[in-house]
Symmetry: C2
């Protein structure tokens, strides 16, 4: 491609709306443009990158035995009603009516459609297992689109669905996808980690993993063990057992104590000269609109995902002050477990305390020597808190947990029979008995992968694309467009590389060298060949973007280095 014809316009400054570095650089380099909040056009440079990601995804999915198809974006609301998601999905689901007033949803995902499709095509165990995938534009009306392609409302996604006759079969399908995902992200040059994630009420242990790109801007927190390979999303991560500090049996009874104005854990601790970990934190939640109390050690945070799972509810939110007062008789900040008439869930950390200080359910009062079991009864105990940095690893119990920020690139999920039940996707087994298909689903956000790579691979001057994703493979820049030798050498190189199948771009514009170099930095093409005054001697500058120094070498040597860089490596 000749750069003079390329539809691109680099920007000197980052548009003010762009917070994330990837977003800034994708805009500045002319890869994407915003049309509306969370809705982007991919300009030719960006589209070339996205198509390379798409090819890698397609190749690896096919290698794993999945078959590609394409389902519609327009989905009859009826299907979503069958699965029960039409009401649950909320405003993220874009709804519309056609000219005959029939309701449709714009597909954010396709479990309903594929289950209904497979139900009609497959009737026997002989045609199972099957894994199907599509690469398609999805729609999700995010409350707060942000970070450019990282959280958009219209985005390119690969979604795959597996159908098996048994849970063991699902395990195999799941593992095949897991392996394909690892290969995909490796080939995209990403620094990533598969982490255990929350599977909700379905799926059980090991039932879902997320693949996370490590990046400061990531909206997820990942807990990893320094000693073993345990890695989990914070919403799922457990803490290993605490040092067995056998709690002192507190013989004293619970005693009220005046704590005027001390509402937060920190205030109470300071006022009473105790540690936060000696305080029993009491939170009043509304779980599907019914109040429950949740007790945590003062230095621990509630994990609402875990709570929702154990309560089996769809909505969980902290009660407001009025509700809290109605349920406990006390203002927020002085709530405690004693005398509560609602179910009490205690995190196991609380039981490990022996006794502690809790709110007295009376304004400006707390209670000392509160002992679970003695002073109040616990309906349910378990792991209801977030792991903390420094917690012991739940897997090896030797290492401690460290936290990182991550961008979710994809997920693999054991769905089980949720959708096949709802949509009646059954088959006859080898005994002629009707069974329900066991499903898995597997998603990758392709446009998000692009942004995650941009987030990880950059310097202060622009992007540094990995070889496999670069919009062009070599950038040829004659220093002076007025110098005939330079232009001729550059043209020859351009022709030669193209004839060898290398995607080369020649900066044939009449621009100052500085302008060309700045644009080249923004494009982030892995190899740059600068044709300057050494062209007189048949030599050019060879630079790998983001790697080491430039070298002056013979033009032909540059060609063979490029070929070598891009020649396929053995697996």
């Amino acid at each position: 491609m000749r750069q003079s014809s390329l539809f691109v316009n680099t920007l000197r400054d980052a548009p003010s709306e762009a917070e994330a570095a990837s977003h800034q650089l994708l805009l500045r380099g002319g890869f994407i443009r915003q049309l509306a909040a969370g809705v982007y056009s991919y300009l030719p440079l960006g589209w070339r990158v996205l198509r390379k990601i798409e090819s890698i995804v397609r190749e690896e999915l096919e290698r794993a035995g999945a078959q590609e198809l394409l389902m519609p974006a327009l989905q009859p609301a009826e299907l979503w009603r069958q699965s029960g998601r039409y009401s649950v999905y909320g405003p993220e689901l874009i709804r519309l009516k056609d000219r005959h007033d029939r309701e449709f949803a714009l597909g954010p995902t396709h479990e309903e459609v594929i289950a209904s499709l497979v139900k009609n095509e497959i009737g026997s165990y002989r045609k199972l297992p099957v894994t199907l995938f599509q690469i398609q534009t999805k729609f999700r009306d995010e409350r707060r689109p942000r970070f450019g392609l990282l959280r958009g409302r219209e985005f390119l996604m690969k979604d795959a669905y597996s159908f098996d006759t048994s849970w063991e079969g699902l395990d195999r399908s799941y593992k095949a996808m897991y392996k394909a995902y690892a290969r995909i992200f490796e080939r995209c040059g990403l620094n990533f980690k598969p982490v255990e994630a929350d599977a909700g009420a379905i799926g059980g242990e090991g039932g879902t993993h997320e693949f996370m790109a490590l990046a400061e801007i990531g909206e997820d927190t990942i807990a990893t063990c320094g000693a073993c390979d345990y890695s989990a999303n914070l919403e799922k991560a457990k803490a290993g057992p605490e040092e067995a500090a056998s709690p002192e049996a507190d013989e004293e009874s619970a005693q009220p104590i005046h704590t005027p104005g001390a509402r937060t854990i920190e205030e109470v601790a300071r006022f009473l000269q105790i540690e936060p970990k000696d305080i029993i934190k009491t939170l009043i939640y509304l779980a599907d609109n019914r109040p429950v109390a949740v007790l945590l050690r003062g230095d621990h945070e509630a994990n609402e995902v875990k709570l929702k799972n154990v309560l089996g509810v769809e909505e969980l939110a902290l009660a407001d002050a009025a509700t809290t007062a109605a349920v406990t008789g006390a203002p927020t900040g002085f709530v405690g477990p004693i005398g509560l008439q609602i179910p009490i869930l205690a995190d196991s950390g609380v039981l490990g305390m022996g006794s502690g200080t809790a709110g007295a359910n009376k304004a400006d009062y707390h209670c000392r020597n509160v002992v679970p079991g003695r002073d109040f009864s616990v309906e349910r105990t378990g792991d209801f808190r977030n792991a903390k940095e420094g917690d012991r690893c739940p897997h090896c119990e030797a290492g401690t947990l460290q936290f990182h920020k991550g961008i979710e690139l994809g997920h693999v999920f054991k769905l089980g029979t949720k959708y096949s039940e709802a949509l009646n996707a059954r088959f006859l087994d080898s005994n002629g008995r009707e069974q329900t298909m066991i499903m898995g689903c597997y998603g990758i956000g392709l446009s998000r992968v692009m942004a995650a790579v941009a987030e990880q691979k950059r310097d202060e001057r622009g992007l540094i694309w990995p070889l496999a994703l670069a919009p062009f493979q070599a950038h040829i820049i004659p220093v002076s467009s007025k110098n005939e030798t330079q232009m001729r050498t550059a043209e020859e190189l351009y022709g030669r590389l193209r004839s060898l199948g290398i995607e080369a771009i020649l900066d044939d514009r009449e621009e100052r060298a500085g302008v060309k170099f700045n644009d080249s930095d923004l494009f982030g093409i892995p190899v740059r060949i600068v044709v300057g005054k050494d062209a007189e001697n048949g030599r050019v500058e060879f630079i790998e973007r983001g790697i080491g120094e430039s070298e002056v070498i013979a033009a032909e040597e540059a060609v063979s280095r490029i070929l070598n860089l891009y020649s396929p490596k053995p697996d």
Copy 2:
């Protein structure tokens, strides 16, 4: 691919909702499935065909110098208001509101978005011309979706847009696309014709062509000349000059004649024993709600597209009986031009008549010897009628016009400045003066191409895909899955073909031969290799689907024939 794993389910009978042969066979062969009216899933077989069409389109567009990008489906209503189309487009445009109540349209086409994009990226003539394209799912809420993929509500389309600094530049961009389109449809194996089409108020002569696949089921009528290469959509086609039958000067004045109950042209002709071509047909239209009279020779049909263009109106419809009576004083069937107080448009065929019989604007009466100019005045004359089969060719004036039915595969269109004006897409010319960009737009319905090929390439047993589009390139069918020699030979062939880069499918199912052959007919794979009892002697049956007889040849010979069939041919 092993057929036992392929996600497909052939149907013995055509579903009752399918009228078109292509629709029936695409359903029966397991290529597509309907999700809602006009909304289809592409199953793996169909998706493979569509991806091949996509590749051809992409290659030819790139060869023509166009650059690929991707624009969003969600388009802010504001852009459509700027172009004035938000109100004009009608219920075909799917509208929705996001969670913040902002209005969006689901893109049926992208003139507004691309003009606004290009406006922001290009400021100077130096960056022009440019042609940009995308391959994308489009949405159009058709009043009457039908014929499967031929008229859908969600469909895959390639749309391209050119931006030039001058009309001469647009000519060049247009011709490049025209040429690319011809190559695309040739490569898809279609029997097609580029035809002149209506360009509306914009574009002028030669300003738009449609590419039509010839097919009985086509919704368009094409007029072609038997002697030259004139070819036009009926809505655009002109008739050449009539035999110069110099009309007899009619000295007699117009005379009323009692024609009780004779309302239609045929009834009047029969009653008065004259020819339809001797009758002046008078139609009352509402043009943007204002009545006009249109006169035509009795044997001619009005062409509403031509009328709309000459009147410069957006809506044109025949007036209802009440309006007709109010305007003319007569019931429908007895309307004529004499004494009308509304504008009269006369097709030039009427002027060629000299005199004729027309309605008398009085129930049960017509008038004889009605002479235009003498008995009524004509505000406008011109070509307001449909060409007829047998009309003289307007181009060579030697041949006569013949009619065919066609499916519109694509169109190329000189837009001019309609959208660049509305969206302010301007550039500075070489003199530093601001100018408006000159646009062209170019569309191909990819899913419709697939259906058109299916409509043209089939026999009573199933589809016959052209080599370039076949979902698989060779179908290997062992006659008996229990015969070891056959299975081994088939497996060897399968492995050998795959290693040579041929997309082979092996029917490894335990099915009767008849079932396998029926499915193979439905799949329509161009080459079939049947491994039967001759396998003992290393021989197989070689059949080109839809072409000639089967031959028994050595297995290795079959391999080389296949390689030869699929080896790239020089341009």
